[in-house]
């Protein structure tokens, strides 16, 4: 992913260096629209309310530059705060580009957390903590929470059956979510304690709710009492309920706020029951709903009344049980805080709170604030309550500018407060950034039309219709429609829409399930896609194999884990495992007991290896700490080689856990309990917030599928938004609405005094507002084209309206403010209104693509011709997949060669024998070098692209990181990268080159190669070649039509320069120690030939610029000098056309060969121990 997509509003940012695909815009984009106002603004406090795609971060960076350059502010007097690491890195990168590394480095860019951590470390003694205070990260927190599990009051929550490790998963995750929400909202245990009624009262409430529900069932449930259609009977029974409610209401008069709320609610219920009774008596034509409604209202059983999202009894029931859980967990929460204090540790929330207190401390406040003149807060809409407090403290002493877009606040569930933006004091001067550089106008209009209160966003780009496409779509058909739309886009089958590439297209969804459904369909249709990491997915196979290995280390009798390890890691056949388990109780015992393993087992070698590894690790596990064991484990089993990328990510969670455990006071060895812990927590971590919200990946060669949350900050040429229906898009808020409300939202609001009444207040606005913002973010990701898939709001079903008529209204003493149907989210209706409006004003901007797409959905995929026979596309795909499965299963060769000529020909191919078909060959300079040394190496590296020996690869890598050495290749690639960048950026003095080199070494992790590369730069500037004007850098070349050569020639020319004589010179940089002879210079020959017709002017020279120890020097040959060598080049090219695996030529080149495991190398370079070069 390139940086210019990393955060919002980067449309005006220059492209990342080196990305050839984008135009190399110069670095001096003029500010547009209101950006100048932001840059020029003076005064103490500003808020920049920026719309999506308005370049807010870029503008902020330009302002910082103006501060430094025009207003002479020292860079280190500027403080920039942002929300996440990701965002901090983006700002740093932009600052480097804008200001150069020195000034950029001097500006303090922090996340809120890193800022607090820094301040507290500095003032640790003043605060009374050790400067080495421990930080409890998200990865450490579960361990801490488990340690307070036994402080749960189990007389208020049933502990349930224990799962592995002794906790109950449900209870533990309840506790975790409770503590996390309380920390997020800065609610202290004392506040909770004083909110809760005392135990006796709470038990009475629980008892009351149970009894009332039971009573309602016994009295007004129409089935249980057989009173369906009995109007008067049911009315009379409702009256009885009313009497009871009223009597109970009196019991709670004035005992405390909670009891008062319950008492008032019971009054309201009494009134509701009376109204229901009246309705039953007086209404003329009663429907079945009228009879079912009382049980919905008073028993909480909504049954067929599907439109009802909340009921009087439901709210009461969930409220009281929330109190019960809170009561059960509050002690554990206190213990959690005590444990933090005892360990001298802060969690992230505490970190911020402490910093706020520090800033409020008059004795140090002045000193701290004196460090800076101004503070800039980016992505301000993402701040939460405590971060806002922090900012407010800073504001009192510093100039401040906050930048954000409240329409993009979509993390409220994580504690973020979208109001932070708009609730800033009036002393803040507001500047709006309303010009959008990303999207076409109709896309923006569609988004802003949704809300009449919202101002229009103006697009900077010229119109280029059509931009908005709608597809009427029903749930089950949607994935197929999405897939068809993508294939239409790829093949240019939509009218007015040019062909799109895979990289142009993204599918954004609300829920992971939707993403999986779309992915499954694209799978079936063979469209490549990338599914950004799935937050709630299961543990990967690789990670489970790792955990299984840990299990057998602590419990050798765990057959299940043995079988997994042996099957997955060692590829041992099941029959062998059977043999082992039959011979002994456990696998190791079975192996001991086998007298003749070589004949009893199909793969004795593998079993031997497996058990040898196991023995070694087991002995390590008895003496070493877990993290050491883990290092050994990784080395012995080479587990990395068995993992997919997603598994490696998940494995890093396991590593985090092991790492976190190491910090605990007692470093212990591997125990069964620890394996349980790992397993449990790895599951939890695989579902943590970070994976749910970290930006998704933007791929170059696949359609991206991700959730809207993952797409925040990204943009795409063409965006598809499927599942825009109320039930799919609103699912998270609408499903279980009443229950989720009492997942502490109500508690928090009530404790903070922001709620009229926990039972009768309407709480739907906040939640629903966030869903609309999510939609806004989704729509504004599209640059050129936006496809909407959805349909009308489903028929809500009966009941809710009727229930509302029974609820006490504002005329009552006890009005109920909510509506039974809860919040609604008619996304499609709203979008279609907006769409129609757009269609009226600019008909060319919109298209109804329903028919075009549906025609495609039902289309026959056709046939293909395979070896003269016609097969359906479907069948062909299936066949290929079957073969692939057989390759994996190792059964591809088992086919009977007589059965089907075409199949057997295909099936035999990978297993040797003669096939006529040859892989197409491509030649390059390095390939020709290889073929001169060894044909086998040429075939492996340049024809079939064979993977290198696993161990050789690992060894090189570990050597590099451990000893901080560099290879000549590192120096070469660093220098070449600098030279290329310098070309694009017009760097022409030595200082620029050196700066760029330092930066690139850092970003590419080539630090050890920096010094030698800087030497190369110094030498370069002493060469003649460096003074000739460049006309190209890293010029890609191809020559396809060389007579008598089958393969094409490809490569890159380092630089093409204008020779003082007038022609062009093709130059190659050499960072090596030695010089090349003319006779060896096939490379130059190739380049000259390939560049012959590429430039307007003729190529007259070719040569080398020596910048390594062989230089500084420019060695140039006239083209006429080179031409006689062509016959040699031709020989090499022909050799490369014909090279064969069989022809191995050992020699000194074997030293760097990555295929030595084949057994062919010169003796001194062969592995000592097969496959293993290094077994430290």
């Amino acid at each position: 992913m390139s940086d210019d997509n990393a955060t919002d509003g980067d449309a005006t940012a220059e492209p990342e260096f080196g990305s050839r695909s984008r135009s190399a815009e110069p670095n001096t984009v003029e500010p547009k629209g209101n950006q100048s106002a932001v840059i020029a603004a003076t005064g103490g406090a500003h808020t920049v309310e920026a719309v999506a795609g308005s370049g807010k971060t870029t503008t902020m960076v330009k302002r910082l530059r103006a501060e430094i350059e025009d207003r002479d502010v020292a860079p280190n007097r500027l403080l920039v705060l942002t929300f996440a690491n990701e965002a901090a890195h983006t700002i740093q990168a932009k600052l480097r580009d804008e200001l150069g590394p020195q000034d950029a480095f001097d500006i303090d860019v922090y996340t809120y957390h890193s800022f607090s951590s820094q301040l507290l470390t500095e003032y640790a003694y003043h605060v009374g903590v050790s400067p080495e205070f421990e930080l409890v990260t998200e990865a450490d927190r579960p361990q801490l929470i488990e340690s307070v599990y036994d402080e749960i009051d189990f007389s208020f929550v049933a502990p349930g059956a224990p799962s592995a490790g002794g906790t109950n998963e449900g209870t533990l995750s309840e506790l975790t979510s409770f503590i996390e929400s309380m920390r997020r909202e800065a609610i202290r245990p004392a506040a909770i304690r004083s909110y809760l009624p005392d135990d006796e009262a709470l038990r009475a409430l629980l008892d009351l709710v149970g009894d009332l529900k039971q009573m309602a069932h016994d009295v007004i449930n129409v089935d249980a009492n057989d009173i369906m259609w009995a109007d008067d009977e049911l009315a009379e029974r409702c009256d009885r309920l009313s009497v009871v409610y009223r009597a109970k209401a009196r019991e709670f008069n004035g005992d405390g706020p909670v009891q008062t709320a319950v008492g008032t609610h019971l009054e309201a219920m009494a009134e509701t029951a009376t109204r229901a009774a009246d309705h039953l008596r007086t209404a003329t034509e009663l429907e079945w709903q009228d009879y079912r409604l009382p049980e919905a209202m008073f028993e909480g059983e909504t049954g067929p009344l599907t439109s009802i999202a909340q009921t009087p009894m439901g709210r009461l029931d969930h409220f009281v049980h929330m109190l019960r859980r809170v009561r059960a967990f509050v002690g554990a929460y206190e213990a959690y805080l005590d444990a933090l204090e005892e360990r001298n540790a802060f969690d992230y929330d505490e970190l911020i709170h402490r910093t706020v207190s520090l800033l409020q401390d008059e004795t140090v406040r002045g000193d701290i604030l004196a460090e800076w003149d101004a503070v800039y807060c980016d992505e301000f809409q993402d701040t939460d309550e405590s971060q806002l407090e922090l900012v407010e403290e800073l504001r009192d002493g510093l100039d401040i500018m906050v930048v954000g877009d409240s329409d993009q606040a979509i993390h409220e569930w994580r504690g973020q407060d979208p109001e932070n933006m708009s609730n800033l004091p009036a002393s803040f001067e507001e500047i709006g950034l309303e010009l959008n550089f990303r999207s076409r106008q109709p896309i923006l209009d569609l988004a802003t039309n949704l809300d009449p209160e919202k101002d229009a966003i103006e697009a900077y780009k010229e119109p280029n219709p059509p931009n908005v496409f709608k597809v009427d779509s029903e749930g089950e058909r949607t994935p197929a429609q999405v897939s068809t739309t993508i294939s239409h886009l790829l093949t240019g089958r939509f009218e007015d829409v040019p062909d799109r590439d895979l990289s142009d297209i993204a599918v954004l969804v609300r829920r992971n399930q939707n993403a999986r459904d779309v992915a499954a369909q694209l799978d079936r249709d063979s469209i490549p896609y990338t599914l950004s990491s799935d937050a709630a997915g299961d543990l990967g196979h690789g990670v489970r194999t790792v955990l299984s290995y840990f299990r057998i280390l602590v419990s050798p009798d765990d057959d299940v884990s043995w079988q997994r390890v042996l099957l997955h890691l060692y590829r041992i056949p099941e029959a062998d495992i059977d043999t082992l388990l039959t011979a002994g109780e456990t696998v190791p015992e079975g192996y001991e007991a086998l007298t003749d393993a070589d004949t009893a087992l199909a793969r004795p070698d593998r079993v031997r290896d497996a058990l040898a590894d196991y023995d070694r690790l087991r002995s390590v596990s008895t003496t070493h700490s877990i993290s050491e064991l883990y290092r050994h484990f990784k080395r012995e089993t080479r587990i990395d080689w068995f993992l997919r990328e997603s598994d490696r990510d998940a494995l890093s969670n396991v590593e985090r856990l092991i790492g976190a455990f190491n910090d605990s006071p007692v470093q212990s060895g591997l125990t069964p309990a620890f394996v349980d812990y790992l397993e449990r927590q790895a599951h939890l971590l695989s579902a943590d917030d970070e994976t749910a919200t970290s930006p998704g990946s933007q791929s170059d060669d696949a359609v991206d599928i991700m959730t809207v949350h993952q797409a925040k900050g990204l943009d795409f040429d063409t965006v598809l938004l499927p599942f825009l229906t109320e039930s799919e898009f609103g699912h998270i808020t609408l499903e279980n609405y009443q229950r989720d409300l009492y997942r502490y939202d109500v508690l928090v609001d009530d404790i903070q005094g922001e709620l009229d009444d926990p039972l009768r207040a309407d709480c739907s606005d906040d939640q629903i507002a966030e869903e609309w913002r999510v939609l806004h973010v989704a729509l504004t990701r599209a640059k050129e084209r936006l496809f909407l898939f959805g349909n009308d709001v489903e028929d809500a079903g009966p009941g809710a309206d009727l229930l509302d008529t029974h609820l006490p209204d504002e005329t009552s003493d006890t009005p109920v403010h909510w509506s039974a149907e809860g919040p609604r989210l008619p996304v499609w209706d709203a979008l279609m209104d907006s769409y129609d409006d757009l269609a009226d004003r600019t008909p060319s901007a919109v298209r109804d693509s329903t028919d075009a797409v549906n025609r495609g959905v039902d289309e026959d995929p056709g046939t293909i011709t395979y070896y003269q026979s016609e097969v359906t596309t479907e069948r062909a795909l299936e066949t290929v997949l079957e073969f692939a499965d057989e390759v994996v299963a190792g059964t591809l060769a088992n086919d009977d060669p007589e059965t089907d000529a075409a199949t057997s020909r295909f099936a035999d191919a990978p297993l040797g024998g003669t096939v006529d078909a040859e892989l197409a060959r491509q030649h390059s300079h390095t390939a020709l070098e290889a073929v001169r040394n060894c044909e086998r190496k040429h075939v492996l590296d340049h024809v079939v692209d064979a993977f290198p020996d696993p161990i050789a690869g690992t060894a090189t890598e570990s050597t590099r990181t451990h000893t901080h050495t560099h290879t000549p290749a590192d120096v070469g690639s660093l220098f070449h990268a600098v030279a290329e960048l310098a070309y694009w950026r017009d760097y022409d003095d030595r200082g620029d080159w050196r700066t760029a080199c330092t930066r690139l070494a850092q970003s590419r992790d080539l630090q050890p190669a920096l010094e030698p590369a800087l030497d190369c730069i110094d030498r370069y500037f002493e060469t003649d070649g460096s003074r000739w004007p460049a006309v190209g850098s890293e010029v890609p070349i191809t020559a396809t039509d060389i007579p008598d050569v089958a393969g094409d020639v490809t490569g890159y020319v380092d630089t093409v320069r204008r020779h003082p004589d007038g022609g062009l010179a093709v130059l190659d940089y050499k960072t090596s120690r030695t010089r090349n002879e003319l006779e060896e210079s096939h490379q130059l020959q190739l380049y000259v030939r390939a560049c012959r017709d590429r430039f307007d002017d003729p190529i007259t020279h070719a040569g080398y610029v020596y910048v390594g120890e062989a230089g500084p020097a420019t060695e140039l040959f006239a083209v006429s000098e080179l031409e006689p060598l062509w016959t040699d080049v031709l020989d090499d090219l022909q050799a490369a056309d014909e090279s064969a695996f069989e022809n191995a030529t050992p020699g000194s080149h074997c030293r760097f060969c990555e295929h030595r495991s084949l057994g062919c190398p010169q003796a001194e370079f062969s592995y000592e121990d097969e496959f293993r070069v290094d077994r430290r």
Binding site: E146, Y149, D150, I152, D153, F154, F156, V157, A158, P159, G160, A161, P162, S163, G165, G166, T167, N168, G170, S173, E174, T176, S181, E200, A204, L206, D207, G210, D211, Q214, D218, H321, H411, R511, N512, Q513, D523, R524, A535, A536, G537, D538, S548, S555, D558, D559, V560, S561, Q563, L567, E574, L581, D676, A692, H709, I732, N736, R743, L881, V888
Partner: protein, 363 residues
Amino acid sequence: MTDPNSDAPTNAEPATETTTITATELATHLVCPRRYEFRFERPLSAREGSRDRVRARRRELLRRPIIAGLRADGDAAADRVDAALERFDRHWHSSRESYLADEQERYDEEAVAAAIEAYFSNGGHDHAERLVDADTTLGYERDGIRYEAAVDAVVERDRGYLAIRYVPDLTGILHVSWSDSHVRDFLDGRKYYPRQIGSFVRAGVAIRGLKAEFGIDLPCDFAYVAPLAESRPAYEFASGSKSESESESESASEPGVHVDIARRHFEDAYEEERLDLVELIGDRAAAIRAGETDPRERRFDEITATACEYCAYRDACPDHLAAEVSFGDRPRSRSQSRVSGDADDTTEHGQTQDTADAPTGDD
């Protein structure tokens, strides 16, 4: 009536002409043929701490004391409860589970004891008085196969007999409702609840076994009794108020824990669906006899979607492993997930709701 603990084919020696197939084998094969293989054909020990094992232990904690109580000498109700609780006490201390918190262990012990007592005061004494046999196996023969089902108690009723199996709760037990085509729907692929169908198969084998033993014309019934169907802290004891409910399943228990009993009878369902059930049993028995253990030949997509997540053998399963590296229809098992928000739902009682195929561990 043999081997009480399990109806595993310990007696399936070639000495007899007939093959014995047990209800547990049938039920396991219904859920996943590979699981059947790992459990019965080439046994792998299920993992310590797996849900199956935890549940199996809870079943043992209930059924052994209850059986001891049913068989207790003396007619006094108190003697039975004492015998049961004494047996429970021994069993509790000899089969310890790991608990992270003492309080949690105390609660659990109280809950099971309360459930045992609640069972006796809700029909258990009646069962004891009319007990025919306890801890036994019922069976019958058909087409050269002997079908067996282990039951915990057989009691005589006014007319006919009732076989009982004690389970901790009704998770995975077919909800016998108005519908009368559970088995047909399963056979025809309309619905997929293999574990629930397995519970019906066990009921069917037991009822047919009762008829074989006592007479084909007698009305015979089978019930799952779940003394620990629900438990929660008893909020009532402090305030002293007592539920006025007259619901049969409700019962007071010793202070601290409140339990609800649940039971499910299968007589009517058996009569309704007997023919389909016979077909299903015959079909699976044939598959077992033929050694068919490849899940890919059954409804593999549905197996991976429902059974794998809870399977104690999942980590060892080659089919599950292979799914990783296959192409095309990769299983995507989790039904749905939230992008945001908190952990999965639990009921008031801290138990996850009965999902499609949580483990029974009943055997």
